[in-house]
């Protein structure tokens, strides 16, 4: 005879759920998700937008960078519920519907700004956000390195990415 009773299996998870609604790449979405679901997982697992990559999950690598109300931010350091009511843009929204690359993507292609491509979505979103800000861009080596400092790349050695930022500025008439 067992000395203690086994705990009954709960009939539902203790993980609280919450309704979230936001606009993702121009489309209104609503889901009921765990309050502890990260925005990165919401995009990837709930919406199937796997272009947003997940590297470190503590804000260091920058792979998961998306635009939150037009500003670059870490989707791994944002809960899905925090983004309730936000306008979110991911890498899937950057190229045109017919597949024509965005000038930043075109510049990465021309300058060999990627090898394995894992960091590229975060890089592109971060750069696109800066290019959408008004005012003069700092296209010095130091200025571009500062722009890229929150995104890690383990393949390229960064020089081709720096070149790609300059090329993108040319393509966008911002050089």
């Amino acid at each position: 005879m067992a000395r203690t009773m086994k705990a009954a299996i709960p009939d539902r998870s203790a993980d609280a759920e919450v309704d979230v609604s936001m606009t993702v790449n121009g489309e209104a979405v609503s889901r009921s998700v765990s309050v502890r679901m990260l925005l990165s997982d919401f995009l990837r697992h709930e919406l199937g937008l796997t272009g947003t990559h997940v590297g470190c999950e503590h804000g260091v690598c920058g792979c998961c960078t998306v635009l939150l109300n037009g500003r670059a931010g870490r989707s791994c350091l944002t809960l899905a519920v925090q983004a309730n009511g936000y306008d979110i843009r991911t890498i899937e929204s950057v190229a045109a519907a017919d597949g024509t690359l965005h000038p930043v993507q075109q510049a990465f292609k021309e300058c060999h700004g990627l090898q394995c491509g894992y960091c590229t979505p975060g890089m592109v979103m971060n750069i696109v956000a800066r290019f959408e800000e008004p005012g003069k861009l700092d296209l010095s080596d130091e200025g571009i390195r500062d722009l890229l400092s929150g995104n890690l790349c383990r393949c390229t050695g960064y020089l081709n990415i720096i070149a790609a930022v300059r090329r993108a500025a040319e393509l966008l008439g911002r050089a």
């Binding site: 503590h58 960078t65 944002t78 929150g150």
Partner: protein, 292 residues
């Protein structure tokens, strides 16, 4: 690397937020989340409930007054960095902000959140201590103002009570003609400082320092106001021997013990180098302000 289970509340008023905190000792305020969420992803932090204050309208914005800049609890680093009025009355803010993590982190992280986290290597606590600022804490029994030097008590520890919200931070403006400077030593751009030093000073008509404010981060379990070095420099022309004396006077302020990558001796030398550079830069700027 996912957070453990927690509850979530999104109050729309300060009173509502305080009552949630008062009713649950393990509830934690969530502002920008740029420190709290990594800690939760690592499961170093396990709050019972997150009190998300982003929907409290009274906690947003920056107010620039005659003497002080009021930064409300939900103000992001990037807003403080780019505010033209802030830059006009206190150009030190933008200079310090260049060293706070990276733009995507500054877009989300909040100034007051960084103060409440109270990392002794972080820039925002140093800025508040350097300027002699304060915070407003609001709890069930009302509001109180806490001076920066009383707020930062120890490593990641502040004078805030568990049921209080820091509703705003108050950063003094620079006095007319004052020079300023901030720089830090880090292994990588955007890291927490190994040592950081900020300086604000004013010169009299004879080129002597009439007022000197110096503070450092990364050298002790809180940001430190370098009072001895300030006293040593006040009334001098800030020459090489005056700087030597100030550096010698601040050596004892370094109490952070040896760590794997950084010895106490290294920190002390970095502190001395930064004091010399920051005082010199601030003095040059004060001179430029006079002649401008």
């Amino acid at each position: 690397m996912k957070p453990s289970i927690f509850g979530y509340q999104a109050p729309t008023s300060i009173d509502e937020a305080i009552s949630i905190l008062a009713g649950d000792p393990d509830a934690v305020v969530l502002a920008g989340g740029q420190t709290l969420l990594p800690a939760m992803n690592f499961r170093a932090a396990n709050p019972s409930t997150l009190v998300d204050i982003q929907h409290v309208a009274d906690l947003r914005g920056i107010e620039v007054g005659a003497d002080v800049i009021v930064v409300k609890a939900m103000t992001r680093h990037r807003e403080f960095e780019l505010d033209a009025e802030v830059a006009r009355v206190n150009p030190l803010v933008a200079e310090v902000m260049q060293h706070v993590a990276h733009v995507p982190i500054r877009n989300r992280g909040t100034v007051v959140g960084s103060l409440c986290h109270a990392d002794p290597s972080a820039e925002m606590p140093l800025l508040l201590v350097l300027l002699g600022g304060s915070v407003i804490a609001q709890g069930p029994s009302g509001q109180r103002e806490i001076a920066a030097e009383d707020f930062f008590q120890s490593f990641l520890t502040t004078a805030r009570e568990r049921d209080e919200i820091i509703t705003e931070a108050r950063f003094p403006v620079l006095s007319k003609g004052a020079g300023w400077a901030f720089d830090e030593v880090t292994r990588r751009h955007g890291d927490y400082a190994i040592v950081g030093v900020g300086c604000v000073l004013s010169l009299d008509d004879g080129g002597r320092a009439s007022r000197v404010q110096l503070a450092a981060c990364g050298i002790a379990d809180t940001p430190v106001r370098l009072n001895e070095a300030e006293n040593t420099l006040t009334g001098t022309v800030l020459g090489a021997s005056d700087l030597d004396a100030a550096v010698a006077a601040s050596a004892a302020a370094v109490t952070q013990p040896d760590e794997t990558h950084v010895s106490q001796t290294y920190r002390r030398r970095a502190l001395g180098t930064l004091i010399r550079r920051m005082v010199t830069t601030a003095a040059q700027r004060a001179t430029q302000m006079e002649t401008a």
